[in-house]
Every structure is written in structure tokens, then in C-alpha cells.
Subunit: 437 residues, 2 copies
């Protein structure tokens, strides 16, 4: 080996000379992928250089991806010289595109005024100075101010902006709330389908139960008691509050889809019925705007605000500042209120159209559960195969389904009307029927 | 009391008649704020109506904010008739605007091309169809693909897009990671200043220690070992990996500010040195783009991907989908790379300018600690008062400071050059000096 590693004229540090030498060998594949590099000791001896110099060169080669170290074995040439872009592992077989999606919790594509939202977000992005800094940990203060007025008008929830915490989705809020109420130890959910909520609680060591009032925390969703939109009657709300008050349980009221209660005036929120004590109120915008906008908020009762304020600075805000600024002005200008009215009207009509389509296709051979809120209904039909097999068969035909329950000979599906255009209801129901035999 | 509550002609349901009657009394302030409503029993007797009818009316009044229930006492009229918009509690005394901010971790206002980012976000917002649905729990797949190439090129980190998890900030990622590694029980941080990270771990029941290698989890930030940008030398990195390997400790490598290592080639990442085993790699964009853009990512080693995949569906994505789409294309088009180069050049110059300003103002009466990375330095000066008092005095003059440490007679400040324009360095240092006596 003839190498000019000692030429002080080259101006390059020694280890870099070694580095470049090997890089060239590797990229030209004279040292092919997988070959073992000489040991530090033998290389140092051969090149008449110190071991440290060689080690520095090898480390830089490793840092740049040319070689890789294997424990107790040495360095090996990577496949960098023949490398192709990394592809995702476990690629699944190709499926046809989804034509009809009964399982989607997305929103109706006609319902959202993208142009309008774009305008608000653009205007938020012009607030350069504000976007140059991190957001307030609790959420932007003008946005919290607007939210406190919004919940007072719509849900009779009286609170100060200081009681409101913003986060990127309900889970982000629970990640702040759970450590504050850890000593409650047990939590009750209305059903096993609240998996996103119960996951966070069990991650924090809570024992999760279902419909068990004897729990330290009672998580309820009064306008969404079941996936098909049953709502909690006022008498039951009062009873729950009394019980929780007597047992010192904390109620978490996830007011999901309270905007889509069609058949009656929206029932009062637990938070307002309780006068703001013993209840954490949670609200979201994903069903009113776009599911992809990750903004939720919680309102803490006085018992928890002090404990929260002590830790507030330790949690970074998760929601996008630009989106908070945009949504703040969007609400101020009355667009959220009109969007809510539009959606409520739209979904109320679509639910009826879906019902009509089901009755036409299935006649009397089905059972339908429908609540007074929401965008879904439960359909029970006779089915010759298992639910999971039905789901796969349907998907292969471009129909996406959600199975709620199965019993021998029947299956209960959750059909959502929100994302599917109403002209698809009839063909989608016909396709479903053809798969059941 | 003469009331026509029994008039069937009115067409209004009885409870609503009672509701409207009281609402009128309250809004006209004939029932003034704070007055107690008649008990259900006495009201029912007086109006010759059932108790249930009265209760329904009261509940609707409460739901709409006219009355409020107090436990074991009855209903009281709220101040809705005289209500003004809710104002934040505990308003702090007004302070002058901040003229010089040495404590800011914001970015240089000249450095970010708002117009460019606006264009990318606008183009993301045009992807209507994509924004109508919830994001992938793990993060958008095209974005993860781009990230996997980005870390391979820049940090020699070889991973599949399936190993990458996106989240709205580092804490959101730790909220997913901590439950997966709960059995590790102890975690070591480099210093108490990593409060956002250690908070999440202690929320999950971990014992938090500092610089204690005998821990189940070792959290390190190799390019940001101290707030003034000391970096971990390669020899120490190798030693840490060996130690962690022998003791089965998991390393979390928060590669914060690795882009701003000025004085040498960036040192190799622990993840790449370890060949991807036993290390979780965390990266962020808040220092490269805008702090208000909440996007971070973690790369899981093979030991953890399976456990994660089992739970992936239970965690909703926290980062904004529109911002993920925008950033994906922004990186593809090479703008992140050029933004990084621009910032690195800029901060390297600004650090030198800040140093010059300090030397000019403080001469030999100060001590300066400066690392080979980052955007801050530590300045120790003689100070006649306590740190917190200095901080308040400075703030009253429009100068924001961060105290790192204090000893009798001296105080150590962390001065950041990133958000302050360089022409302010000299006047800001002079103002600081005038406050020290």
C-alpha cells in the first residue's frame, strides 16, 4: 500500500485523509458492501498512523453512512454505494379504491368552505411577529377569551379564559389532566369504544371500567352516549351530578357532537347544571370544521385550576399557533355559528335520506337503532358469515364498513352519513345487501 | 299571581310557558340577580302545576344561563341581565413593552421566509379531499418517507418510514413513548433545565435523576448538553453507548440544535453510532422554521416498533395535517436544507457579534462560557442584588433576562442571540451593566 498520509503539504488533517481514502474505495465498490474493514490495530500498523487517527476516520465514515459498527466484531462496509431510497416495510396488497365509505368519521365535502378557512389562515400567517415565538402553554389568550364567550352563549358554560386550556385534540388535554387527578385511581367510560380516551388513562395507571359509577373519575359524553347518537336525558344528568357530588367523583364531560342534537333543544351541559363545580368540560372542533384541524379545549373547575397553574409552564402548547389565531377570528366573525347551523341542517336531512334508503333496500328484514343526535345509525341485519369476513368482502368491493357487534346469524353495523354524498346511500345499501347472503 | 298556564290554546308546552314567564321576570330585573327562586314544591303548589313541569322549566332556565343551582340550597338568579363579557382573572400590572429580549428562544425575524412558507401552506390547503379526513395516527406517510430520507442524508440515520412517529412537539412523542417503556422505571436527564421532558416522565411514575448513568432510560441531547451549547464529544458518545448496551439502558437522543454546531463537523448521532439499536432518535423543526409550527418526530429502534404498532391506532395524531403536508413538500424542494444553511451562518455571525459587544461593555469584569453549538452563551457578572430582583428590575426597563445560576455576589445569565437583532446587542449589554450595581 503506497499512501501519502504523511504529506504535510496536503493541508488536510490526517484522519480526513484516511476518511477520503476509504470513502473512495467504498463508493467505487472496490471495497464492496458487506466487506469487513481492517481492524483499528492492523490498519494503524499498516499505515504507520496512530490508532486514534484511524478511529477518528472510521467514526466519521460511520457517521456519514459508509461503514457500520457491529458489536464485538468490527466495522463493515454498508450498501451506501448501491443504495436505493428506503421503502416502507410490510407493504400491504393493493386494494381497490374506496367507493362508498360508511365507516368514515370525516365531514361532508360540500359542507366546508375551504376558501373561507384559507383566507383566515392566510391572514393568520401574516402575523409574522406573533409566529416567531412559541405559543402560550395554555393556548393563545385572545383565542381563550373568544372561547369563553362561545361556550357561554352556546352551552351556558360560565368560565374565565384562565380556566381554559387548549390542546391538539382531546388526548393532548387528557395528558395534562390525568397527572392532576392521579389520586382518583379509577375511571369509568360509557363503553369500550372510547378507546382513545381510556388508553390515556390506563397509560397513567388508572383502572378503567365501563358504566361503573363507583369510580374516582366518570367520563361521559352526554350527546354521544352510544355511537348511534343516543343522548343522556336531563333527569339522568341530574342524577349523575348528585351521585358524583356525594361520592366526590370528578366528571369529565366530553361534549362531543352536542351541536348535532336534532330532535329537541340541546340538553344543558353537565358543567352548567353543576354550576361549574366537579366537572371538567371538553369541547372540540374536528366535527364542525375539518377533522385535520387539531384543536380542542378543556375548561377546568376551580378545584383544579390552581394545581394546573403550578404546572402550566412545564407543558408546551401542542396546537398550531397559526390555526389558533385563524380559528379565533373565524369564531369572532360568526362563521363557526353559521357553519354549525349549516351542518346541523345538512346532517339532519342526510340521516333521514339514509334511513329511507335502508328501508327501501332492506324492507322489514333489518333492525335500526337511531338516537336523537349525531351522524350515524346502527343497522342489524342477518348475515351468513362472520363480521370480519363481511368487512373484508365489502372492502374488496370498495365498500368500507364498521362492525359494532355480532351475534350468531346477525351483524350490527355502524353506518355514518357524514362523509358519504347522499346520492350514494341507495347504491351503497344495495351493494351491502348483495354481500350478506 | 294570575297566570294562564292552563290555556291549551296557547299551543306552547306548559314547562315552556313557565320558562318564558320567569325569563321575562329575570331579564326585566323584577327578579334581580342573586335572588332565590321559589322552591320546586312551593312553585308547583302556587301555579297548580306538577313538580316535574316546574323542574323542566327550571332546568331549561339553568341551561340557558338565567338561574344557577346551588347544592342543598336551591336555584338563584344569575347576573345574566347585567352581564358584561368575562374578563381574565388576576390581571397582572402593566409592564413596559420588551425592548431587548435576551431570554427568547424565538427565531431571528429576518431569517424566516414567511412568503415561501405561506405559499406551501396555501398549496397544502388546496388538497381538500385529504383534509376532510383525520390524519394517520403515526403521521402522514409521504411526510414520513421524506423524513426518512432527510435523516439519512443529514444524520446518517437509516430507518424505514414505518419506524417514524410524528407528533406536535417532543412532549406529544414522549406521551406515546413513556407507556411503551414504563418498566424501565428510572430516567436520567443531563440537567434540571430539561423540565418539559422530565415532567412527562415523572407524570408517568418514573423516578427522575440527573446525570446518573445507572438509569433504565438515559435522556441526552448531544448537541445541547448545556444551555450554552456544549456538545458531547465522540469519545464520550461511544462510552455512553457501550455503557448503555452493557446495562440494557435505553437512550433517548434528543438531537436538538444539532444543526447549529459551528466549530466542527457535526458529530455523529448516537442512533447511527449504535447502528439503530437501543436508541430512540428525536428531531424537531421549531428552531429551523417557526417555533409556532408544532412538528417533531421520533424514530423507534426495532425493539420498540412492534409494541408501538400494537397501540398506534389508539393515539390520534396531534400535529396539524395541513402543516405536515406543507412541510413535506418544503423539504422535498430543498428549502429546509437551505434554511438550515442560512440560519447556521447567521447564528454563527451573531454569536461572535454578541461576544464582541459583551467584551466591549464588561471588559475583564465578566466570565463567559460558550460551547461549539447553539445560539446562547452564559455570562457571569458581579451583581449587588439577588437574581430574581435583577430580573424584575431589568424587565421594568424593557430588558428580559434568564437567570441560570446565582452565587453570593455573582449571577450567571443565559444570553440568547437568536431573536434579538444584532444592532441591539451593544445597547442591551449597556443597559444590563447599568442595572448590576
Amino acid at each position: 500500500m503506497v499512501l501519502s498520509f504523511h504529506d504535510p503539504e496536503s493541508g488536510e488533517r490526517l484522519y480526513l485523509q484516511v476518511y477520503h481514502y476509504y470513502r473512495e474505495l467504498i463508493m467505487s465498490r472496490r471495497l464492496p458492501p458487506g466487506s469487513r474493514m481492517p481492524s483499528l490495530r492492523s490498519c494503524a500498523r499498516e499505515l504507520h498512523l496512530s490508532r486514534t487517527t484511524i478511529e477518528n476516520a472510521y467514526l466519521q465514515l460511520a457517521a456519514d453512512g459508509y461503514i457500520i459498527s457491529k458489536a464485538q466484531s468490527g466495522y463493515y462496509v454498508t450498501d451506501i454505494a448501491v443504495q436505493k431510497p428506503v421503502l416502507p416495510k410490510n407493504r400491504k396488497p393493493e386494494l381497490p379504491p374506496v367507493r362508498y365509505n360508511f365507516a368514515s368519521s370525516g365531514v361532508d365535502r360540500e359542507s366546508f368552505r375551504f376558501d373561507l378557512w384559507q383566507r383566515y389562515l392566510k391572514s393568520a400567517l401574516r402575523q409574522n411577529e406573533r409566529l416567531l415565538s412559541y405559543g402560550e402553554p395554555q393556548g393563545e389568550s385572545d383565542f381563550r377569551q373568544v372561547l369563553s364567550e362561545y361556550v357561554r352563549q352556546r352551552r351556558n358554560v360560565t368560565c374565565s379564559p384562565d380556566d381554559i386550556v387548549i390542546g391538539a385534540g382531546v388526548q393532548s388535554l387528557l395528558h395534562i389532566l390525568c397527572p392532576l387527578i392521579k389520586d382518583k385511581k379509577t375511571v369509568s367510560f360509557p363503553a369500550a369504544s372510547f378507546i382513545q380516551g381510556s388508553t390515556v388513562f390506563s397509560d397513567y395507571g388508572f383502572t378503567v371500567r365501563y358504566r361503573s359509577k363507583d369510580s374516582g373519575v366518570i367520563y361521559v359524553s352526554p350527546a354521544h352516549m352510544t355511537k348511534w347518537g343516543e343522548i343522556m336525558p336531563v333527569s339522568r344528568r341530574m342524577e349523575l351530578l348528585r351521585y358524583a357530588g356525594e361520592h366526590q367523583s370528578l366528571i369529565i364531560e366530553d361534549d362531543f357532537e352536542n351541536e348535532f342534537v336534532y330532535l329537541q333543544k340541546p340538553t344543558p351541559s353537565l358543567f352548567s347544571l353543576a354550576g361549574g363545580h366537579g366537572v371538567v368540560y371538553i369541547g372540540s372542533f374536528s366535527r364542525l370544521l375539518l377533522p385535520s384541524i387539531r384543536i380542542s379545549f378543556m375548561i377546568l373547575p376551580p378545584e383544579l385550576t390552581e394545581a394546573y397553574q403550578k404546572k402550566a409552564e412545564f407543558y408546551n402548547q401542542t396546537a398550531s399557533k397559526a390555526e389558533q389565531i385563524a380559528l379565533c377570528q373565524f369564531i369572532r366573525d360568526g362563521h363557526l355559528a353559521s357553519q354549525t347551523r349549516r351542518l346541523k341542517r345538512l346532517y339532519s336531512v342526510k340521516m333521514k335520506q339514509l334511513l329511507t334508503a335502508i328501508r327501501e333496500v332492506f324492507d322489514k328484514s333489518c333492525q335500526i337503532q337511531i338516537g336523537s343526535a349525531g351522524t350515524s345509525l346502527a343497522l342489524t341485519v342477518a348475515c351468513g358469515c362472520e363480521g370480519q369476513i363481511l368487512k373484508k368482502k365489502a372492502r374488496a368491493k370498495g365498500l368500507r364498513l364498521e362492525i359494532l357487534e355480532e351475534k350468531p346469524g346477525t351483524v350490527t353495523l355502524l353506518l355514518s352519513c357524514s362523509a358519504m354524498p347522499s346520492e350514494d346511500f341507495l347504491p351503497a345499501c344495495r351493494l351491502l345487501k348483495s354481500l350478506l347472503d
